[in-house]
Symmetry: none
Subunit: 220 residues, 4 copies
DNA sequence: GATTAACCGAGACGGTACGTCACGTCTTTAA
DNA sequence: TTAAAGACGTGACGTACCGTCTCGGTTAATC
């Protein structure tokens, strides 16, 4: 199930990083204001995000029109734009809302931890979660629109966190040397996975994962 | 300087890989045909591709309008569409035409080979070549448009080739074990670089490259 | 001055006669419907029609581009196409909206009636009303587009009505024989006028009108 | 069969009336010049004109593209433009080439003469000769293009000539009064016919013709 | 309960780009 | 020189989409 609290949290973090741009939902930041008038329907937040994931997965971001999205979500376009200032921000939000944090695995062995952690990541990419196809679009957007940059950063960092934690614990245990360059290590693990997913089209399975880990963390 | 021969070569390779889709320039494949009528101006091929690289680098693919592109190239829109069936295919062609093959380095030591080969790759990404920002866009397109898929594949494979050659030579020399999984190794080397370039935003310098190679090919 | 009521009336009459073709403004026929959404701006209907008359009069139908028309009307192209499905239909509508009904003259003498009625018609053709040049274009269109046919018919019939009324009254008064073939008579009066206007280029003045009437209705 | 001599004659008359515009076929005026190089194929003149009549009759002038016309005539576009400077001029030529002069009837009775002469005209309009639909287009063109005006005039005058001759003979015989306004009379006869053909859509048959003549030339 | 402020659906609107098409010219090879 | 083939500039076409705005009507909190 999707937790509306997470949605709200995400929205605010974005509202901050895109400061000045979105006066649309500025009021929501100050919770103490009594807020007169009819409140926004919570149901719509969810149905819009869900429709976004579904539709963008089917036809891509560029292929997804806001009119069709509104229809699919059973909502009017104004209702969407009252909540998110642009298509890109909406898509990003939808991504974040769908991204449940990876379970923080801790088996005591770094190789096993990585196998589980990255395995889950691959599983999400491979199966239902067609929204991964959407990431590149956001990247290009971010290249030319400063507003989106930090939001995309947030999104990417979320993926790094669990891997980094696994590695840091391994350093703490002495399983990895204390001077290990963790950031590079994270890149060396995530990079090939993302690369296969987006570009090379190589298979993404447990076997590949084993070989990758063996390559980067040999003899352990 | 841009070599027209390369342009031609690239065009044909794509024409093959997108067989059936583009009848636009199908005739050019068979060289023996007498080729009647006024021939297409070679100058325009170049000026259009050059303008594409320039303009897409400045404002991104989405921000680049075909009208402005035509004007910048000193050409009419029809002249562009006579050669390429869509904006995306054009951009892809432009990428390929601009991509000079990496020099095939062979110093006799695999680590040094990789340092040079990948170093050159990073150098191209980092500096002038803003067209790298354009890759993600193509990836998303390719996800939903079969025509583009193989073309993008071509483009990606071109980057893999020199790295693969370096590794195969190392295996031949006995510098790497005979059972080395070369494809995974290529992914492990290219993946992190691409990942940093597109997503994580981490620095791409000689230092990172050294650490990456040390990580993947230790003690050699 | 242009009466918006007339405009509406004309639009609906055409909407009927071109049934099936134009779903664009079908909804407007049923007045009892609650009419949801933002209503179309009445001002734009008028400004578009006015700009059409003005522009087509200056440069002809073929010379009139929809982009320039939109600009002249202070309106976007989409706003035009939301109301009329094609350039030709729009021009026809503009013609009809501009065509004030001829005053129904009744002096008691058929010759005098015709002199006034046809004189007014000639006056409108000769002077300001450059839109007359546009009629031939519509005729050719109508030849190959069934949608336009009935609409053009409407337009033509409107010109016949007042002349027919004058003649019918004359028959009623006994001024013309009861077995008068009115339709042929109308053709015999309107035909030469239209012919001179469109083709022969002969003068269209009171003198010609007198001779024409004398010819067709002698000694009365 | 179509007489190439007539074609040639017509072409030259137009070349004169559109002086300055068409240097395309200027050389042909001076017959004594030896005329170097490959001569123009006479066959093509005919096949182009025939294809023009055929195609314009099917889809209208506007619907007829010069590319399709060239293909239908088995000729290249340049071959067409080498002969006629514009689409409109070509169509006009095609009209004239197809228009065999009406037989000059002379039965000794004006009413019978007109019945035959106008009857033949109606017959041609009604049946095969779909090119009549094309006339209005030319009229509008002529309105905004001085070059075409005189050419269209020529065409129109050709229709008036035989009627005028019939009437002049009647005046000579004393069948019509010496002060008859022949021009107005011609308009009164041709006008209603053209009007029915182009606009009112009324029937064009022998009956209508009889009534029309009776109306304009009563009791004779 | 009345007021009021904000919500909602529907869809018009300006703007911008798309990819197509046609005209009339120009450029090549072949006859 | 003409012919066939077709590239080319120009410019309009009609469509699609984004993000905003404007209606009529609804829904809660406040008065």
């Amino acid at each position: 199930m999707m937790d509306p609290v997470i949605v709200e949290t995400n929205r605010e973090s974005v509202a901050e990083s895109t400061a000045g741009a979105a006066d649309t939902d500025a009021a929501e930041a100050c919770d103490d204001a009594p807020r007169r008038g009819r409140p926004r329907s919570k149901e719509f937040d969810e149905s819009i995000l869900a429709a976004t994931l579904e539709l963008a997965g089917e036809v891509g971001i560029k292929g997804m029109s806001m009119d069709e999205l509104a229809q699919r979500a059973g909502v009017s376009k104004a209702t969407i734009y009252r909540r998110w200032p642009s298509k890109e921000i909406l898509v990003l939000q939808a991504l974040q809302s769908a991204m449940r944090p990876l379970d923080d695995v801790d088996t005591g062995a770094v190789v096993e931890d990585l196998r589980l952690c990255l395995g889950e990541m691959i599983a999400r990419m491979s199966t239902k979660d067609r929204m991964n196809d959407v990431l590149p679009h956001l990247v290009e957007m971010a290249t030319h629109d400063a507003t989106l940059r930090s939001a995309v950063d947030d999104y990417v960092q979320n993926r790094r966190v669990p891997v980094r934690q696994v590695l840091e614990r391994a350093v703490g245990r002495g399983e990895l040397p204390a001077d290990t360059d963790i950031e590079t290590l994270v890149d060396a693990l995530l990079g090939p996975i993302i690369y296969r997913r987006l570009l090379s089209g190589g298979t993404l399975d447990a076997d590949f994962l084993d070989r990758l880990i063996e390559l980067v963390l040999p003899d352990r």
